[in-house]
Amino acid sequence: MGYDLKLKIWRGDSSGGQLVDYTVPVDEGEVVLDAVHHVQAMRSGDLSCRWNCKAGKCGSCSAEINGRPRLMCMTRLSDFDPAEPITITPMRAFPVIKDLVTDVGFNYVKAAEVPAFTPTAEQPQAPFRMAQVDVERSQEFRKCIECFLCQDTCHVVRDHEENKPAFSGPRFFIRYAELDMHPNDALDRKKLVQEERGLGMCNITKCCTEVCPEHIKITDNGIIPMKERVVDVKYDPIRFFRRKPKAETR
C-alpha cells in the first residue's frame, strides 16, 4: 500500500524562494503533514512548518495544497492521484517567514482590536442563566480554531495589502457576530464592525465558508446576519437606546 510520493515544497524566506522536489515513502492512511514530517526526518531537517495537534484542533498547520488553502493534518494523501506530485506552498495572504511558515501577526492585531465581552447590567456576575438555544449561535463561531485559512482566501486582502489596515476579515467578522449574538453581552459593536472593521467591504463571495475546516457557515450565519443587523441599527435610531434584542429573528 505504501508508495513513493513526489512533493513540490516551497522553500525560501522573505527574500524569495522556489519549489523544491522531494520524494518520500508514504504509507496507507497518511496525510500531507506526515509527508512533510518524512521530508524533515529523512531529507531536509531544517524544513519549517507549523503543527501541534495533528487532528484538526489547533489550526497551526495551514498551507496551500495544490493551490487550495487547507490544513495539512486533515488532508489525506488518498485524495490525490499517487502518480501526480503534490505541491505545498505557504499561505499567500501573509508574509513568508521561512518555507511554509508565514507571519500571521495581522490576525493577532485584529484580535486585539475587538472590544471584549462585557456582561449586561441584568446579569453582571457569573454564574449566568442562559438557555442552550440562545448560546448556540455564538457557539458555532467559537468552534473557530484560528487556522486563518478564511483570512488567507478572502480576495479583499489576498492580493491587496493596501486593504489590510481597514479590514478585519471573516475570522473576526464572526468574532463580532459571536459577541453580538451572546445573550448576555451589553456592548453594541455593529457600527464599529461596519464602518471601521471592513464588514462593508465584504461582498459575500462565500469563499471563506468554503475553506473553513470547522465547517462554520461564516457567511450565511455570521456575515449576512451581521450586515442585516447593521442595516437595522442604521435605519432605526430608537434601537440605539434599547438593549440588544434577545430573541432574534431567524
Binding site: G29, R50, N52, S60, M74
Partner: protein, 600 residues
C-alpha cells in the same frame, strides 16, 4: 552577550496553555509587570486539544455533589498518593474558576435551567464536567487568550526558554531564543512561573504534540528543584490505532461518559471482568445496572467502563494480549449501537469528524478501534500546595508540569480544573514574591555565555547524528521499556539505553541556519527529553509495587504499608545525573481522612 535582546519583568510565565495564561492574568491583576512566553503561537498550546471538560463540583445537575465528594473522588482516583492539600484546594476552588471563565465570555453547554451543563466522566461520582461539546479546551484557551489580550499582557510567541537563571539560590530570569530568527533573548525577572505542560513526546504512541518535550520539568531539575511522582505516567485507554499515521491520537473519554462501551473481538463487554477490589463497592457488576446508571445515579453504580483510566488501560492491554483484540491491535469502542446518530453528532462532533476524516469510519454507524496511548504525566515539580512555589525561591510551577495534585493517576477533567486553580495561585504568589524582595536579583553574564554556547553546539559538529533519528530511538526505548506494564529488567535496560543516547546527543549535527529551524530546535529539546526520561525510568525502577499509572509485573500488588506512605523525589546530582530519594507522604487532617473511607 551585551547585544542580546533584554527585557525586565516582575513575573515571567513560561507557557501559554491554561495554566500559564491563568497565571499571567493573576500576576497582572496583582499589579506585577508580567510577560508570557510560549513555543507556539498564542492559542495553540496543548490545552486547545482538551476535549471532555473541566471537573468542578458546581452541583448544577446533581445537588448532592460538593467539594467533599470531588475531593474524595480525586484522592481515590489517585490511589491516595495525591498531596491532600492540593486535592482539597482544587475541589474547593474549581467552581469559582469555571464561573470566572463564563464572566470573561466562555459559552459552556447549558442545562435545562440555563446553568452550565455537566457531563459524566471516569472516576467522578456525579456528572461534574463543565463542557462545550467535545471541544472544551478550545473554549477555555480562547477565553483566557482573549482576556490576556484585553488586559494588554505582553506575549512572546514562538520563543523557547532553554535556561533558567539564578542569583545565588534564587531565580533571576530566563534565557531562550526566538524561533523565527534563532536570536537569543534574556528575561530578567525575580519570579518565574513554569507552565510548560507535559513530557509525552518521548513515547512513540502518544496523544501529545512536538511541544511536550518536558522542558519545564528539565529546567526545574537543573535549577535545583525536585520532581515528585515521576514514575506515574498516564496511558489513556482510548487512542486511535488505525491508520498508523494517527495512532495515539486521543479519543475522548466523553464517548464512554455519554454511553459508549468497550467490547472485545467476541463482542463481550469485558470491563465487567476487570473490576478491582478497591472499586467494587462503587461499580456496577451487571450490564442492566450499568445501563440504568446513566439516568439514575442514586440507585445504581457506575459502569466499569468508567473506572479510572489506569484500570481501563490495563484491562484493554490484557484483552489484546489474550488475543481478543480488534483487527488492528486495539479493542472496540462502540457508541453507534447505543445512542442515536443525532445524539452522537451533537455531543461528540469533533470525534465524529476526526474518525470520518482521518480513519474513514462513521462512528454513528460503526464501532471505533482504540488502544492505550501515552497521554499525561502525573509527576512534576514539587510545589508548596498553597503558593505553587518550588523549593527554589522565585520558581513557581502550575498545570501539568507541577506534581502532587493527581497522585498516582489523574481523573479526566481534573487537569483543566488544576490549570485554573493552581495557575491563579501561582500567578498571585509569584507577584507577591517579586514585590516583597528588597533588591532585584542580578543576571550572571557568564551564565548567559554558557547557555548560548550550549545552544549553538549542534552547529559546530560536522558529521554528527541526525536529531530526528535519536528522537525516534528514544521513543522506541520509552515505548518498549517504560510503557504501561514494567519490570526491573526492562527498566534497568531503559536506564542504560537512555544513558547511551545521552552521550550520543553530545554529537548531533543540524542542517541550515538558526532561522525557524525545527532540526536545531529538536536538538535542544532532546536534552530535556533525555533528562526527563531518565527521571521517569529511575523512579519507576525504585517503586516496587503497582499503583495507578505505574504497573510492575514483577510487583503486581499495591503495597499500602510501605509505598502507600511514600513519594519519590527526583533531583539532579552534581555530576548531572538524576537521583531518587524517598519522602514521606503528608497525611490529611482527620476530617479529610474520614472522607476517604469506604461508604462516603
Amino acid at each position: 552577550m551585551s547585544d542580546t535582546e533584554r527585557h525586565q519583568y516582575d513575573v515571567i510565565v513560561v507557557g501559554a496553555g491554561g495554566a500559564g495564561l491563568r497565571a499571567a492574568i493573576a500576576a497582572h491583576d496583582a499589579g506585577a509587570r508580567t510577560a508570557v512566553i510560549c513555543k507556539s503561537l498564542l492559542g495553540k498550546a496543548h490545552t486547545v486539544m482538551a476535549e471532555g471538560g473541566i471537573a468542578a463540583a458546581m452541583g448544577n445537575l446533581w445537588p448532592e455533589d460538593n467539594w467533599k465528594v470531588h475531593f474524595r473522588d480525586t484522592m481515590r482516583g489517585g490511589k491516595l498518593l495525591n498531596h491532600w492539600r492540593m486535592a482539597e484546594l482544587h475541589a474547593k476552588e474549581a467552581p469559582e474558576r469555571v464561573w470566572e471563565l463564563e464572566q470573561w465570555g466562555a459559552l459552556f453547554d447549558r442545562t435545562a435551567d440555563g446553568l452550565i451543563s455537566q457531563r459524566d466522566f471516569g472516576g467522578h461520582r456525579y456528572a461534574r464536567l463543565a463542557h462545550v461539546g467535545d471541544r472544551t479546551g478550545l473554549e477555555m484557551i480562547r477565553t483566557l487568550q482573549q482576556r490576556t489580550v484585553a488586559l494588554g499582557i505582553d506575549v512572546f510567541m514562538e520563543c523557547t526558554i532553554t535556561h533558567l537563571l539564578k542569583d545565588g539560590g534564587a531565580m533571576s530570569g530566563a534565557f531562550g531564543y526566538w524561533r523565527e530568527t534563532g536570536r537569543f533573548i534574556v528575561f530578567e525577572a525575580p519570579s518565574v512561573v513554569l507552565a510548560t505542560g507535559g513530557i509525552g513526546k518521548s513515547w512513540k504512541v502518544t496523544s501529545n504534540s512536538w511541544e511536550y518535550t518536558g522542558d519545564g520539568h528539565a529546567l526545574a531539575l537543573r535549577a535545583g528543584a525536585g520532581l515528585i511522582n515521576m514514575e506515574f505516567v498516564q496511558f489513556h485507554p482510548t487512542g486511535m490505532v488505525w491508520p498508523p499515521s494517527v495512532r495515539g491520537i486521543l479519543v475522548t473519554e466523553s464517548v464512554r461518559g455519554d454511553g459508549g462501551v468497550l467490547k472485545n473481538s467476541d463482542g463481550e463487554r469485558f470491563m465487567f471482568n476487570y473490576i478491582p477490589e478497591f472499586f467494587k463497592a462503587e461499580t456496577a457488576d451487571t450490564i442492566e445496572e450499568a445501563d440504568r446508571w446513566y439516568e439514575d445515579k442514586k440507585n445504581n453504580r457506575r459502569p466499569p467502563e468508567l473506572l479510572p483510566r489506569d484500570e481501563v488501560a490495563r484491562a484493554i492491554n490484557s484483552e489484546i494480549k489474550a488475543g481478543r483484540g480488534s483487527p488492528h491491535g486495539g479493542v472496540f469502542l462502540d457508541i453507534a449501537s447505543r445512542r442515536t446518530p443525532e445524539y452522537i453528532q451533537k455531543r461528540l462532533p469533533s470525534m465524529y469528524h476526526q474518525f470520518k476524516e482521518l480513519a474513514q469510519v462513521d462512528i454513528t454507524k460503526d464501532p471505533m478501534e482504540i488502544g492505550p496511548t501515552c497521554h499525561y504525566v502525573m509527576g512534576g515539580v514539587e510545589v508548596d500546595p498553597d503558593s505553587a512555589q518550588s523549593t527554589v525561591p522565585g520558581l513557581f510551577a502550575a498545570g501539568e508540569v507541577a506534581g502532587g495534585m493527581h497522585g498516582a493517576n489523574r481523573l479526566g477533567g481534573n487537569s483543566l480544573g488544576d490549570l485554573l486553580v493552581f495557575g491563579k495561585r501561582a500567578g498571585e504568589h509569584a507577584a507577591t514574591y517579586a514585590s516583597g524582595l528588597a533588591a532585584r536579583p542580578a543576571v550572571d553574564e557568564a551564565e548567559l555565555e554558557r547557555a548560548s554556547e550550549e545552544n549553538l553546539a549542534p552547529f559546530d559538529n560536522e558529521d554528527g547524528e541526525n536529531p530526528y533519528t535519536v528522537h525516534q530511538e528514544l521513543q522506541q526505548v520509552m515505548q518498549n521499556l517504560v510503557g504501561i506494564i514494567r519490570n526491573e529488567e526492562e527498566l534497568s535496560s531503559a536506564i542504560k539505553e537512555i544513558d547511551s543516547l545521552r552521550h550520543r546527543i553530545a554529537n548531533l549535527t543540524v542542517e541550515g541556519h538558526r532561522q525557524y529551524n525545527p532540526g536545531w530546535n529538536l536538538a535542544i529539546d532532546l536534552r530535556n527529553m533525555l533528562l526527563v526520561s531518565e527521571a521517569v525510568a529511575k523512579a519507576a525502577f525504585e517503586r516496587k509495587e503497582s499503583r495507578g499509572g505505574h504497573t510492575r509485573d514483577d510487583f503486581p500488588m499495591t503495597d499500602y504499608a510501605y509505598w502507600g506512605k511514600r513519594n519519590l523525589i527526583c533531583e539532579l546530582s552534581s555530576t548531572g545525573e538524576v537521583g531518587t530519594r524517598e519522602q514521606s507522604l503528608p497525611e490529611p487532617p482527620p476530617e479529610l481522612a474520614e472522607l476517604l473511607e469506604e461508604g462516603h
